[in-house]
């Protein structure tokens, strides 16, 4: 574990130095990352130029869901977002280089091409969340609700990390199907930006019980907003995110091990 963190830090630092060699490009891509994610929110703002409520939710309420989803996903994307390149490494055989190094493979793959520009997405999420917190005037803040916000961000980030790692484990088998992962990562993050009431009940059931993305922000955020939960869930589920996150990370770790063990080099 200590070894992994050290490896990760060293490789990440190396990539930061290498990105800084093209400083103009770095600035452009960071702004681009910020703006690209901002477009999602701009789309929501454009929608609200035509309407007052979407699925019964006001703009600040949706901004609250959006900000939490964006920060949680952005954090995971920064930390382990490069893992979607694993399929390519399996295909072209460069994974072998990582296997012979005396350092944990997971840390090497996760830190590979570490992209600091991804801070753009987190910054954008923080700004939207900040706007939401200022503009939400119907929320009766309690100590519990205030504490729940950072808990959501951290557990949500961990849940998305688990999705990235699990997806990478899947690529040991699927090789060039890395885009399936996008459906769960980017797709999941987009889904969580909108209130659960918009979607079909089966879809909500799926992301609650099977693929527990609902714990990233929906369930805890609805508690903060004082909104009814989907699927008639009890109130205490709002406090489950840390447990769910721990469970997801454990499962992803097991999947990663199984994937790595099943890996047979291309031999080229």
């Amino acid at each position: 574990m200590v070894d992994g963190v050290r490896t990760y830090r060293m490789i990440a630092a190396m990539w930061i130095r290498s990105t800084m060699a093209y400083r103009a490009s770095f600035v452009m891509t960071t702004i681009g990352n910020f703006a690209a994610t901002g477009l999602d929110f701009l789309a929501i703002v454009l929608m609200f130029s035509q309407i007052d409520r979407l699925g019964g939710y006001s703009l600040p309420e949706i901004a609250f869901l959006y900000g939490l989803s964006a920060i949680a996903f952005g954090t995971a994307d920064l930390v382990v977002g490069s893992m979607d390149r694993l399929g390519r490494r399996v295909r072209d055989g460069t994974l072998d280089t990582l296997l012979v190094r005396p350092a944990p493979v997971l840390a090497q793959v996760a830190a590979d091409r570490f992209a600091l520009r991804r801070l753009g997405r987190i910054t954008q999420g923080l700004l939207v969340l900040g706007y939401a917190l200022l503009a939400l005037d119907d929320v009766h803040w309690t100590v519990l609700k205030v504490l729940l916000v950072p808990v959501m961000v951290i557990s949500g980030g961990a849940i998305f990390c688990a999705v990235f790692v699990g997806g990478a484990a899947f690529q040991f088998v699927a090789r060039d199907a890395s885009e399936v992962q996008n459906a769960f990562t980017y797709g999941g993050a987009t889904l969580l930006q909108y209130p659960p009431g918009l979607f079909a009940q089966d879809l909500v059931r799926g992301v609650t019980f099977v693929f527990p993305l609902a714990f990233v922000n929906w369930l805890p955020a609805l508690y903060v907003l004082g909104r009814p939960y989907p699927l008639d869930l009890p109130e205490w589920v709002a406090f489950l995110p840390p447990l769910v996150a721990a469970g997801c990370c454990a499962l992803a770790g097991l999947a990663w091990r199984a994937g790595l063990r099943s890996y047979r080099s291309t031999g080229s």
């Binding site: 452009m28 681009g32 454009l46 309407i51 890395s178 459906a183 909108y194």
Partner: protein, 266 residues
Amino acid sequence: MGSGRLYAAVAAGGFRRYATYRAATLAGVFTNTVFGIILAYTYIALWDERPHLGGYDQSDALTYVWLGQALLTTMCVMGTGFEEELIERIRTGDIAIDLYRPADLQLWWLAQDLGRALFQLLGRGLIPFVIGAWLFDLSLPASPLTWLTFLVAVVLGVLVSYSFRFLVALAAFWLMDGAGITQMAWLAGVFCSGMVLPLNVFPGVLGEVVRALPWAALIQAPADMLLGAADPLGTFAFQAGWAVALLGAGRLLQAVATRRVVVQGG
């Protein structure tokens, strides 16, 4: 007439090249379908609130969603077509070899990109659209003529998309590293093509501006043909106008760029 056969072969190569990655295509179909479903529900909520927004009824809006997913990779709205490879060739100096070839750079990549677009339309476009039509209530035209105008608009859209990305790639002659410019192009593409929201829903002056920009040719124009929401001749003229202007600009830039090419290394 040897060059016609050459470019046809290059186009066929572009088609085959993308057709090789079957698992990747299936994965793409899956992802487009998931995004289509998520977007469709948000559009349903939006059109519930404001029926006939932008002149579309709800099933028009849903058709628009699935068309967007079907055309996303065909039009390379988010990039990753030939331009990344061309940028890499410019950066490494391999471009010098390309310039010695008895084929025109712009036409060569155009042929390759047309092959790619055809495969993406069939491989990654058709299936999500069929799934969307099965899951949701879409408004599909009965008249074959409407489908024909749609296909013409798709072809013109691919031309506009290609000629814009060719310009983006050539910028690498000056910037060396293409990451920044491709991201900017990607941003403009996603927002201004109507991927996030139909362009006729954009309010006021912003709406007028985005509808006049080249990206309106990529998704909005074919969608309006299929939904019978715009005059075909005016739409074709708009698309063809941008295609000619951008191809001309590409020609000019190619001439300037090749004069200043500096081959590093070897």
